[in-house]
């Protein structure tokens, strides 16, 4: 029991050593390392984009099959070879290479979808909260609709109507995702709208768009930032779920979710096909959540959760 009747215990006063401070901020340092490493490997999987398709971090192309080597276990398991560090899948494709290319797909899809949902949600949320009245009621009803739509069903519908592809997945992930931002941002805006600095800006005749952009937006930035970092995990999971159901990025382009799905019929003889991409998804989601929590704890103790 840290505090009873407001008396602080000794532990809360004790200063931190240097190592203690580093340990305290591991919640920020480790996730940042994970993201930097993953984004680095995603970009440099191959250098095809500057005309050097043969140079890169991925040992093999993602679609190079080798039937004699199929279902080869990871290097440290009996029967494995250092040629394929994480083993191969049912078609003899190198799992490490596919995981590296998968990072490209999974990260770019999630980050783009977050950029879209966060911008749309923020704009609608600020307008809704600041304008109030009918505008607010209208936007909030649309938000209600978006929030009560079953997201996975809508994603499948969109995927079958537009045909699977990179932008279909982004669209399917974005079409409902803005509603959560709109709700939170509207709440924050409502709180700010009645504050003195907004009233003062109104008195000197600042136009509404300027109040929203210059006075309200900067004050909701940290809530937005927390929402965005926490959404990284959710988006990665949603993209993986779509790929798992076969409505994501079409094969042979790998995404972590579709790699898990690839191994589902080979569980009894090749556990490694599904296992490694799943661990990667977990790692990224974990990093996103940790980073979000860390930013929240640092910037806004009011919202502290865990």
């Amino acid at each position: 029991m840290a505090t009873i009747i407001g008396i602080k215990t000794k532990r809360e006063f004790r200063g931190l050593t240097r190592w203690g401070r580093i340990f305290r901020n591991l919640g920020m340092i480790l996730p940042v390392i994970v993201f930097v490493v993953l984004i680095f490997t995603a970009i440099f999987a191959d250098l095809g984009w500057i005309g050097l398709p043969d140079v890169g971090l991925a040992p093999y192309p993602y679609d190079e099959t080798s039937l004699p080597d199929r279902r080869m276990p990871p290097a440290w398991v009996e029967g494995g070879s250092t040629k394929h560090l994480l083993g191969t899948d049912t078609l003899g494709r190198d799992i490490l290479s596919r995981a590296i290319y998968g990072a490209r797909v999974s990260l770019s899809v999630s980050l783009l979808a977050i950029a879209i949902t966060a911008s749309v949600g923020t704009v609608l949320g600020i307008i809704s909260g600041y304008a109030g009245g009918r505008t607010d009621a209208f936007i909030m009803r649309i938000t209600d609709i978006a929030m009560s739509f079953p997201p996975l069903l809508l994603a499948i519908l969109i995927a079958v109507s537009l045909g699977p592809g990179f932008f279909t997945v982004i669209f399917a992930l974005s079409v409902l995702g803005w509603a959560g931002y709109a709700r939170i941002i509207r709440g924050e805006t409502l709180r700010l709208r009645n504050s003195d600095f907004v009233a003062q800006a109104q008195i000197i005749g600042t136009p509404s768009w300027r109040i929203m952009l210059r006075h309200i937006f900067p004050n909701i930035l940290n809530v937005l930032l927390i929402g965005i970092t926490l959404a990284v995990g959710a988006m990665i999971l949603a993209e993986a779920m779509m790929s798992y159901l076969g409505i994501g990025i079409p094969p042979p382009m790998p995404s972590w979710g579709s790699m898990v799905a690839d191994g589902r019929n080979d569980l009894d003889r090749a556990w490694w096909i599904s296992t490694f991409p799943g661990i990667l998804i977990g790692l990224v989601v974990l990093s996103g959540n940790f980073l979000g929590d860390w930013i929240r704890d640092k910037t806004d103790p009011r919202l502290r959760q865990l």
């Binding site: 029991m1 997201p151 079958v160 109507s161 159901l245 898990v260 977990g282 974990l286 959760q305």
Partner: protein, 307 residues
């Protein structure tokens, strides 16, 4: 209070109408189901006949009018593929989904509250860290992957539980555990954090000073006040649970709504897709209203402020 309930219900009804309209036109953009039912050898007149039978020869506006007037009478239409009433298909699938969903929901809520409260009262102990670790891990690992790993370990390796299908009680273990993965972590985190907040409040301190026993303080004074936000999450969990059901039923080949939904969408079985979307939306909207009403009952401030 009555006014509050009426306004909230009206708002939800408007949202429901919106959903019905959107899904009606969305499924029709998604492709012509006739193309999935005919062979390349079908003649022009056969196609026309099929279109007439399914009511797809009329204009969209006309189709919508027929659909909405049938819906108003509680008629969900007939499946394009199986040619049986949609209500019959849902009548078969819904109980199977509830058989998974209800145990998950009960276990998830009980376990979520219990673990959350215990973790909050034992802050920074091994137990608390264990709960935090589980919650963080549960939120990070993809549910479908956990399910696959569970099949790998318990069905393939040890052969304790069956890998798929419905049957005896042993068929329920893996799907229910998978579904729990979609709702328990969030529940535990929220209960723990609100409980910590409440335990720090003046009235809990007062209850302690009064010399009430620790269990009365925690389970009666604190929990009652901490339960408000978990109420919201219990409703939000409904959404998570529905998403979880789609994934879980498809992995474990469970003949419920989630599996029906995926099959119907891919086969362009419009009436089935529409019916499922409407049912899910009614459930989610209903839960949202119930939460708002429950809030208003528990917390009079909301009652006065919102109406």
């Amino acid at each position: 209070m009555a006014r509050f309930i009426i306004i909230r219900s009206l708002q939800a009804f408007i949202a429901l109408i919106g959903i019905i309209v959107i899904v009606f036109f969305l499924v029709r953009i998604s492709g012509n189901p006739i193309l999935f039912m005919i062979s390349p050898l079908s003649s022009e007149s056969e196609i026309l006949l099929l279109q007439q039978q399914l009511g797809l020869d009329k204009s969209y506006a006309h189709q919508f009018w027929i659909y909405i007037s049938n819906l108003a009478q509680g008629d969900l239409g007939e499946s394009f593929i199986k040619r049986i009433p949609v209500s019959e298909m849902i009548g078969d699938a819904l109980p199977n989904t509830l058989k998974l969903g209800i145990p998950t929901y009960i276990i998830g809520n009980l376990l979520g509250v219990a673990l959350g409260v215990l973790a909050a009262t034992r802050r920074d102990t091994i137990f608390d860290n264990g709960v935090k670790f589980l919650a963080v891990l549960g939120q990070a690992l993809p549910g479908f992957w956990v399910a696959i790993m569970a099949v790998l370990v318990f069905s393939v390796h040890w052969q304790i539980f069956p890998a798929a299908g419905m049957g005896g009680i042993d068929h329920y273990v893996l799907p229910v555990v998978t579904m729990l993965f979609f709702m328990l972590p969030g529940m535990m985190r929220l209960v723990r954090s609100t409980m910590l907040e409440v335990l720090d409040s003046e009235y809990v301190k007062l209850a302690r000073i009064k010399g009430l026993s620790e269990s009365v303080v925690i389970w009666k004074h604190a929990l009652r006040n901490a339960i408000i936000s978990p109420l919201t999450i219990a409703a939000m969990m409904l959404g998570a649970l529905i998403g979880g059901a789609v994934i879980t039923e498809n992995i474990f080949n469970w003949p419920g709504m989630g599996k029906l939904a995926v099959e119907a969408t891919i086969g362009r079985d419009f009436p089935v897709v529409q019916a499922i979307t409407i049912i899910v939306a009614v459930m989610v909207l209903g839960a949202m209203i119930l939460v708002d009403i429950a809030y208003a009952f528990v917390d009079p401030r909301i009652r006065y402020q919102r109406t």
